[in-house]
């Protein structure tokens, strides 16, 4: 390819410019010398011969230029030249460069920080083979999906094992389906025990995802078939490194997981499907039928692997190559519907709403990103934050455009000189754009550093065990780099467009006489509009920030309905092999007694589920005398608590009695319910509720043997958010028996003084009871509450700082605009004052100027803000309505800041000395 050859040769020519020039000069010199000699030989004088030689050559400089243009790429060369020129220019006006670059760095920095998190939480694909073809299944039916458990995992992903098997048989258009379930377990190895995140997977899971072992083997379909005695485990590479020190001889070693021995058969570079909570160990999913991995089987029902009503696992699939999702959708829905019909036949007695059971639909979701636990809580706010960041970048852009316009107005003379010397308009345009691009790229580089730094700072405020930590502990990757570079380029095009376009309008002659006002006048309207737009956008930004801020404020001031001060909480878990649950119950009592003996402790209690832990768990119940309507399947939340729980947490009793020591394993089964429960099942009649009875499960054969003995007010037991609370029932821990809460248990200790002082004593008591018990999460109740507000707090910090930054930029923009306007009108003001206008009058003129810019800005901003906030609340259901007064306060703040920004220029205008102003020219 001669063309490519030529191009490469010319690129090379760019690089060895100096030598090539010298070489050619020598060649030309030889040429002229030879020509002159020939001339002398034919009778001319040496001077005349040389003159003729030069004429015949066609001009020394022209030949050099022609040769040079041919030797290099003139376009690139001119760009390089402009680049060097731009660097010189920017270094000359340091103030301007500093201002522009820092404004850009702030704008791009905010974007870099948020994009890094955004990318990680919402965009990144799973690191598996061809993730784009992965799908996740979820089902919707009137029977199973009320509003129940919406907070307890990705909505409605759960399936029963027989449903998975049936769907797999009909997998036309689907390469395969694999089943998985997520949980935590206690792993003991080498004398120490700790929690691990585990993922139970079907045997085809790894081959479906295309995950190969780093060491040993992965789980295979053969592992599915050995239902009971199949103690093998595959561990993740990360866990292999942290827990086993990347020991290469780890294969065939045994570990103890939830009291059973397992053999490690492989190591994989895979962290499971749930992003944000990396799975550390992988076990065959069929192991659940052995009961070794906790409570999967509903009491009184068949083996969990055969129970069509026990929904406990999720399904991931891979679309066949070239198959559209819609096709697979139809196939799978047919199979799904058939299975539902079969299941209805098998489990007829246990399905109450048979029509609702068949009103069902299977949905295929894009599975390329796995299931992001963070995107559920953090996704919507994150999208809004990213939108805010982009808006902030636009404001920064407008700001820099303004600076550039002012600068261009000052440089009109210089540009005119360049034009007069023969620079084409294209060349001047190119030069201005390159200057902008340089600013943009420097800004982007600094912004990247700034973004990284602010992420680090943010990370420091989040404890390592919070799930947010993993979203923030990120390095700068190529995508963020690309994003910043793109942001730099796009913004520089945006902000250098206006001055560059205006440069076309320069009238050379007048500009040379410093009389042209193409840039000065053409720019001034544009500048006002830019500042107006900045104010509008910052108005919208602080409106969003106000919503987040107000929500955090509300969250912090929520009264959960139980005492939060002077309470220490911690969790205890059984970690030893062979420990049965009775023994564990005895241990808990021992610890409770030990705690009460401590001085300064007024009471202590424990519960199966921690307060405000986000854990919701319910089972359907049948209440005597209450007929479940088909449209509403209310499943109450529940917790098992020790006798002193309510008094310790200072939850008052509305009617009936508290649990007492007589509510033992063998006594009459009792329950305490809350007001929401009474409202739902007894139409709010407390007295009727007190005599009420209910039982767990549905259908016609439920034993309704649990008596309601007490009623308490509704408390926010699981989360602080404002969703209407689900009916809640409490059972005595001592009566847990079959439907036993799994470990761990959460303790609550009421103290007289500072609760954190008790932490050491807690450690001693727990270890004295049994050194194998795992103690975790020792903190005060207040600390615990502030922990669950980390996500809203970070969102608020980010949004408020962006709002503040936007406001600052808009104020600076306004100030700059006014300063210049006043400087330009000094003469006019001087004349006005000389003709009798007093300072007040000048002040009025400036105020009018400010109002012309600020008022339309605020009006537009209020509109954008209103739309934005509507969108915000629409997208994020957890946000409470923000009162109008908050927005009003925000408006006042905005106006105050703008007034402050215009005060200095206004004073300067009023202080103009008419005599000096008139003499100035």
């Amino acid at each position: 390819m001669p063309r490519l050859r030529v191009f490469l040769a010319r690129v090379l020519g760019l690089l060895r410019r100096r030598r090539a020039d010298e070489n050619f000069a020598a060649e030309l010199e030889g040429h002229i010398a030879m020509h002159t000699e020939d001339g002398v030989r034919s009778g001319f004088s040496p001077d005349e011969a040389r003159r003729r030689a030069l004429i015949q050559l066609g001009g020394l400089e022209q030949v050099r230029q022609a040769h040079r243009d041919r030797d290099t790429l003139p376009w690139i060369e001119s760009v390089l030249q402009d680049m060097r020129y731009a660097v010189r220019q920017l270094r000359k006006s340091r103030g301007f460069t500093f201002a522009a670059v820092s404004v850009l760095a702030l704008g791009i920095g905010a974007n870099a920080a948020i994009f890094t998190v955004f990318d990680n939480v919402l965009l990144k694909s799973l690191p598996v083979r061809d993730p784009s073809r992965l799908i996740l299944l979820s089902e919707n039916s009137r029977y199973e999906t009320g509003r129940l458990n919406l907070n307890a995992g990705p909505p409605n992903l759960a399936f029963a094992y027989p449903a998975y098997q049936a769907l797999r048989l009909a997998s036309h258009g689907i390469d395969d389906l694999a089943a998985f379930s997520y949980g935590t377990a206690v792993l003991a190895w080498n004398g120490s025990t700790s929690y691990v995140n585990m993922q139970l997977v079907s045997g085809n899971y790894f081959s479906l995802l295309g995950v190969r072992p780093v060491l040993g083997r992965v789980l295979t379909p053969a592992d599915d078939r050995k239902y009971h005695a199949n103690p093998v485990v595959v561990i993740s590479q990360g866990y292999w490194r942290t827990r086993f020190g990347a020991d290469p001889s780890i294969l065939d070693r045994t570990v103890i997981i939830d009291e059973q021995t397992y053999t490690i058969v492989g190591v994989v570079r895979h962290d499971g499907i749930f992003t944000g909570a990396p799975a550390e160990i992988f076990l065959p999913i069929t192991l659940v039928s052995s009961g070794a991995l906790g409570d999967y089987t509903t009491p009184g029902r068949t083996n969990v692997l055969h129970d069509p009503l026990n929904r406990w696992m999720d399904i991931v699939g891979r679309l066949s190559l070239g198959v559209a999702q819609a096709q697979a959708d139809v196939r799978l829905n047919t199979a799904w519907w058939n299975w539902r019909q079969d299941a209805l036949r098998v489990a007829r007695d246990n399905i109450m709403d048979r029509r609702g059971w068949m009103q069902t639909h299977l949905t295929l979701h894009n599975g390329s990103r796995g299931i992001s636990l963070l995107s559920r809580d953090f996704g919507e706010p994150l999208k809004i934050l990213q939108a805010m960041a982009l808006l902030l970048l636009l404001i920064a852009c407008a700001n820099v455009a303004n600076l550039l316009l002012v600068r261009a107005a000052r440089r009109e003379g210089e540009l005119a000189v360049r034009g007069a010397l023969g620079a084409s308009r294209r060349r001047i345009f190119q030069q201005l754009t390159i200057e902008g691009l340089l600013l943009g790229l420097v800004g982007a580089a600094l912004g990247l550093a700034l973004g990284w730094l602010s992420l680090r700072l943010l990370l420091a405020t989040v404890p390592a065990d919070n799930s947010l930590h993993s979203a923030l502990v990120l390095g700068v990757d190529t995508r963020t780099l690309a994003f910043c570079a793109l942001a730099g380029i796009v913004t520089s095009i945006l902000f250098s467009l206006a001055p560059a376009l205006l440069s076309f309008r320069i009238d050379l002659l007048r500009a040379l006489h410093l009389q042209s006002h193409a840039l000065t006048m053409g720019g001034s309207t544009l500048r006002s509009m830019l500042v107006g737009a900045e104010i509008a956008m910052s108005c919208a930004l602080i409106a969003c920030a106000a919503v987040f801020g107000w929500n955090l404020y509300q969250l912090r001031n929520t009264n959960p309905g139980f005492a939060t001060s002077n309470v220490l909480t911690f969790a205890v878990d059984t970690g030893r092999t062979g420990r049965n649950r009775q023994q564990f119950g005895a241990d808990l009592n021992t610890i409770e007694i030990g705690l009460k003996e401590q001085s300064g402790v007024s009471s202590a209690a424990y519960a199966a589920d921690g307060l405000i832990s986000g854990d919701t768990g319910g089972s359907s119940i049948t209440v005597a005398g209450y007929t479940t309507s088909k449209s509403d399947q209310m499943v109450p939340d529940r917790n098992w608590v020790s006798t002193g729980f309510f008094s310790t947490m200072q939850i008052p009793l509305l009617a009936g009695r508290m649990f007492n020591s007589e509510d033992t394993d063998t006594a009459q089964r009792v329950a305490i319910v809350d007001q929401a429960f009474v409202r739902h099942f007894f139409r709010g009649d407390v007295q009727r509720a007190l005599g009420g009875q209910f039982g767990f499960g549905g259908g016609d054969h439920v034993k309704m043997d649990i008596h309601i003995v007490g009623v308490i007010p509704t408390v926010r037991a699981t989360s602080l958010t404002s969703a209407p609370p689900v009916p809640f029932l409490y059972l005595p821990y001592a009566q847990a028996e079959g439907s036993h809460p799994g470990s761990p248990a959460s303790f609550y200790v009421r103290t007289m003084g500072d609760p954190s002082r008790l932490a050491v004593a807690v450690r001693t008591i727990v270890h004295r009871t049994d050194p194998a018990l795992i103690l975790s999460g020792v903190e005060t109740m207040r600390e615990h509450l502030s922990e669950v507000t980390y996500a809203p707090r970070i969102v608020t910090i980010l949004s408020v700082s962006m709002g503040g930054l936007a406001l600052l930029l808009a104020a600076l923009g306004l100030q700059g605009l006014l300063m210049l306007a006043i400087a330009q009108r000094t003469r006019e003001f001087g004349i006005r004052m000389a003709l009798g206008a007093d300072r007040g009058r000048i002040f009025t003129i400036v105020t009018a100027l400010v109002c012309r810019v600020v008022l339309p800005g605020i009006a537009a901003g209020a509109l954008i803000g209103w739309a934005g906030v509507r969108e915000l609340v629409h997208h994020d259901a957890s946000l409470v309505q923000t009162p109008l007064s908050v927005f009003a306060a925000e408006g006042v703040l905005l106006i105050a800041v703008m007034a402050l920004a215009s005060y200095m220029p206004a004073r300067r205008a009023a202080a103009i000395d008419p005599m000096r102003a008139l003499r100035a020219e």
Binding site: V6, R10, F24, G30, H31, A33, M34, H35, R70
Partner: protein, 113 residues
Amino acid sequence: MSEKTEVWQGTLALMVLRTLETMGPQHGYGLARRIEQTSGDRLQLNYGTIYPALLKLEQEGYIRSRWGASENHRRAKFYELTKAGLRRVKKATAEWEQTTEILARFLAPTEEA
């Protein structure tokens, strides 16, 4: 045709290649002189234009250059054909002959009439 003719676009390269083929390695000045002489002094050639043309041919790989000494012992850059250049001359000559032949057919009857 007493007036001198400008060099037609694109033909200079062929003239250079052909001259190098017949005369062997030459420096720029020699080439320019030679082309002028070959045309019977009927071409008006700015000697300077030969250098960008030489550079282009060199970039395309049809000729190569090296420094050497001229007849008068001056340092000069000598250009010579490469193998690719030789092929190029053959091909371009054939093409050019064909073109002129076709054009001649168009022009001949009018001149005779």
